[in-house]
Every structure is written in structure tokens, then in C-alpha cells.
Amino acid sequence: MRRAVGALLRKDLTAELRTFESIPAMTLFAVTTFVLFHFGLDRSSLEGDLAAGVLWVTLLFAAVLGQNRLFVAEEEQGGFDGFLLAPVDRTALFVAKALALFAFLVVVEIVAVPAFGLLLLGPDLLDPLPGLVLVLLLADAGIAIVGTLVAGLAIRTRARDLIAPLLTLPLLVPVVLAASEATAPLLAQAGAEGPPGRWLAILAIYDLTIGLVAYGVFDFLLED
């Protein structure tokens, strides 16, 4: 299982490095959205609740963009067929894809979050950074799991580009909610406090639950 996950992940990261199919598009989308908010809200500095909301909704949509391409190579280049006949569980495929999406999100955020700090955020980004990184990682895990699960479900359908976001967004409402609540105090003008433990716990519990569910059902998803 480990070897299979490692091989799949390496293959996906290699392909992304060569094609730049997902990460640049996701990053560009996030940064452009921040620019649009900058002008659309007609405010050069946000803080607190509003800042957290803008950040998370933007990151969520960027994730949906990456999610859509996650299984396209498997579907179009016969990876699924090979997989069906190879002696590995399809859960290995799920784990590898979720890790790939997680990695994509982290890379996107390395660019997008500083851009957010420059373009929109009033308070300084540096102080609350450790707390923010914690929230980002927990939320990314949830987004990666749900995104991968839904992408796997949608890939065999005709309108996958439509179905994937339609299913993903509602499933991720708890993540956006908890992540925004956890982020808001970090971005407050009054000076950063630590992220509230309650919301971090909720994020962690959501990740764990949805992770177990996805792990359990993924094997059935790809049956013909």
C-alpha cells in the first residue's frame, strides 16, 4: 500500500511539474479573486470576519478548480483500467490523490496567502502566521479529502465539471465555517490572539470523520 501510494503520488507530482495543469491555474485564480475583491469591495484593507470569509471562500473555489483535474489523467489515459487489474486496493489511489490535492493546495497557499496579505489584509500577516498555518493545514486536509472523494465519484459521469463543485461546496460548508471562525480572530485589527481551540477541534474532527468515510467507501465508487 505504501509503495503504491508513493508511486502514484510521485507520478502525479512529476506530471504536474511537467504540465503545470493545476497549480498555476489555481494560484492565478486565487490571486485574481483577491484583486477583484480589492476593487469590488472598494476597500484596501479588510480585517477580522470579513477577511477570513474572503480568504476561505477564495481558497475553496481554487481547490474546486484543482479537484476537477485530479482524475482526468486516470480516466483519459487508461490509469483506471490498469489499476483495476493491478494487485493494489483502490484506496491507495484515493490516498495518493488526496495527498496530491493537499500538496497542490499548500503550494497555492504559499503564493496566495502572502498575496492576500498584500492586497487585502489590514493587519500585519506575520504575527498570526503560526496560528494561520495550523488552520490552513487542517482545512486543507478536509478540502483534499472531500475534493478527492467527490472527484472520484464524478469522473465517470458526463457532466463531471458541473457535478463535482455542486457536491463539493455543500459538503465543505462545515470546513469553511470552522476555518473562518478560527481565522477571524487571527486577522483582527486589535492584534492577533491564538486561534480558538474549539474551532480547531471541530476542523480536526471533521477531517477525521470524512477521512474515515471516504476511506471506507472509495473502493466501491470506482466499480463499473
Binding site: 512529476t14 506530471a15 487489474l85
Partner: protein
């Protein structure tokens, strides 16, 4: 006596529009190279895909290495190698990376260098797979079937699209596999390939097996065909006989008596190709053949 590697009993497969396999029976012994022959649409690929576990059967009994491939048990997947026509070939990785990738999914893979060598892809191992030519792509499919070091290998038209040298090389690889004690089930449209590689072949048509046997023995029991050029009319004559000795004696004595040479004489037992064409010929094609001959 070891159980056969493959056992098929009264296998049926219906697609919505057609019954592609209509009750076939055969066995493949361990270590045997077995060929499925037959015209387009005979049901070869369907049969192979059922044995691979890629397709579900409609009825019948199938056992592959003692397992039901329909269940796709993991132990079976570890021991079987498959040529998926183009499946699993990611476009943006190199030949070597691709083979390395799939090798990691098997518990005891064959050395990737060796696979590259066996498939004749040495010069191309650092090229992206999408830049390969058609024949090279087929070689890669072949390489993918070997990478898990399986004991049973399915090869559906393994050399279609290969150039003549590559075909010979692929034959050599199949022979090497056979020497290593692997079982091979292949389909092919090249009768010389079947003749060169297969211990036994089955000729299929319209979802049924018409005959099974060693390529050299399929024609056995059939009549000898003696062909010669008639000295008077100059036309080619042929006759089928159980005993060519008597007929040849007649022909040669007559020629000697006339003092003329006997031209273009051949005596042949039907080759695999003759048997194949005989069995699979469409009625209309057979009729026109008759007209030409007569």
C-alpha cells in the same frame, strides 16, 4: 498432474446486441503457449478479457490459476500480466518512469532495465511516452504486461503494428517466457506467429471454437493435395488424396512415357493457414473460390 492454468467450460458472453461467445471449452496447461485465432469479431478479445477479469461473463465456468477471475482476487492479480491496449500509459512521463511506476504496484516486479531490454525499448527509455511511434507504443504495452513478473501472461495481438525485426524480437521474448515456465495466452492474426510460438491453438469464429490442436497437427488427417501442371493443356490441376504415393506414381509414369517433364508439382498437407482459411471462410468467399478453381 497439475491443475491447468486456465480452464474454460461452456463460456458464454452476450452483449446487448450480439452473443459474442457462444459456449466455448478449452484448457491451457501450465507452461503452455496457447493461441486464439480467428477473424475479426470472432470473440477472441472478449474471451481474453473475461479471463483477465476485465469483463464479466454471462454464463459458464472459468478458472484462472485456480481462481475465478470474475471476483478479481488480489492473489490472482499479483500473478497475471496483461497487455492493455494503451491502458495505463500516462503521457507526460518517460518510458522508464512509467514502467517504474507500475512495477511499484506489484509485490515482486521484474527488474525495469530487463523489461526495457526485453521489449526493445532501450533507446527510448528516457523519452516521454506520448512521443513514441505506434509500434513503440505497442512495445510499451508489451513491456507493461511483463513488469509485474507474472506467471500467466495475456497477450492480445501482441505484435500487431510491429516491424518485422521487432516481431522476431517479441517472439524471442515469448519463447524466453515459455522457457522460464510461464504460461502465455495470446491472440494473433499472424498464422506464422501462431505456428512459431504456440504449443496449441484454437480457431474461433462467431463465438465458437472450430478446432483445437497443435499447429502442426491441425492438418493431420486431412487429405494430401497434389498440384501439377498438365502437360497437354498447360493448366494447373490438383487432386486430393489419402495416398499420394499411388497418384505420384501414376503422374510420373505418364510423364516419363510421354517423355515430358512434370512441371510445377507439389505435394502438400494443409498448413495451419489452409486449415484456418478452410474453417473460417465465409460461404460467399468459398463459392467464388470454387468458381476460380473450376
Amino acid at each position: 498432474m497439475q491443475a491447468p492454468a486456465i480452464l474454460v467450460r461452456d463460456l458464454h458472453k452476450s452483449y446487448p446486441s450480439i452473443e459474442a461467445v457462444r459456449g466455448i471449452d478449452f484448457e491451457v496447461a501450465r507452461g503452455e503457449v496457447f493461441g486464439l485465432l480467428g477473424p475479426n469479431g470472432a470473440g477472441k478479445t472478449t474471451t481474453v478479457e473475461i479471463l483477465e477479469g476485465y469483463r464479466e461473463r454471462t454464463a459458464g465456468i472459468v478458472s484462472v490459476l485456480g481462481h475465478d477471475p470474475g471476483q478479481r482476487p488480489r492473489t490472482l492479480r499479483e500473478r497475471v500480466g496483461i497487455v492493455l491496449q494503451g491502458g495505463g500509459v500516462y503521457r507526460h512521463v518517460t518510458v522508464r518512469e512509467l514502467l517504474d511506476h507500475w512495477a511499484h504496484l506489484y509485490p515482486a516486479p521484474r527488474d525495469v532495465d530487463e523489461v526495457i531490454e526485453l521489449a526493445g525499448l532501450g533507446g527510448k527509455q528516457h523519452e516521454r511516452t506520448r512521443s513514441l511511434s505506434g509500434g513503440q507504443r505497442r512495445r510499451l504495452d508489451f513491456a507493461l504486461a511483463l513488469v509485474g513478473d507474472p506467471e500467466l501472461i495475456f497477450l492480445d495481438e501482441p505484435t500487431t503494428g510491429f516491424d518485422p525485426a521487432a516481431r522476431r524480437a517479441a517472439w524471442q521474448t515469448v519463447r524466453t517466457l515459455a522457457e522460464l515456465g510461464k504460461t502465455v495466452l495470446l491472440t494473433t492474426h499472424y498464422l506464422d506467429e501462431a505456428q512459431a510460438l504456440c504449443d496449441r491453438v484454437a480457431i474461433m469464429k462467431d463465438g465458437r471454437i472450430l478446432t483445437i490442436g497443435a499447429p502442426a497437427e491441425l492438418g493431420v488427417g486431412a487429405l494430401y493435395r497434389v498440384v501439377w501442371r498438365d502437360a497437354e493443356t498447360g493448366e494447373v490441376q490438383s487432386r486430393e488424396t489419402e495416398d499420394p504415393t499411388g497418384l505420384l506414381h501414376q503422374l510420373t509414369s505418364a510423364a516419363l512415357a510421354r517423355g515430358e517433364p512434370l512441371r510445377d508439382i507439389t505435394v502438400a498437407r494443409p498448413s495451419l493457414e489452409d486449415v484456418y482459411l478452410d474453417l473460417t471462410e465465409e460461404p460467399s468467399a468459398a463459392a467464388s473460390q470454387e468458381v476460380r478453381d473450376g
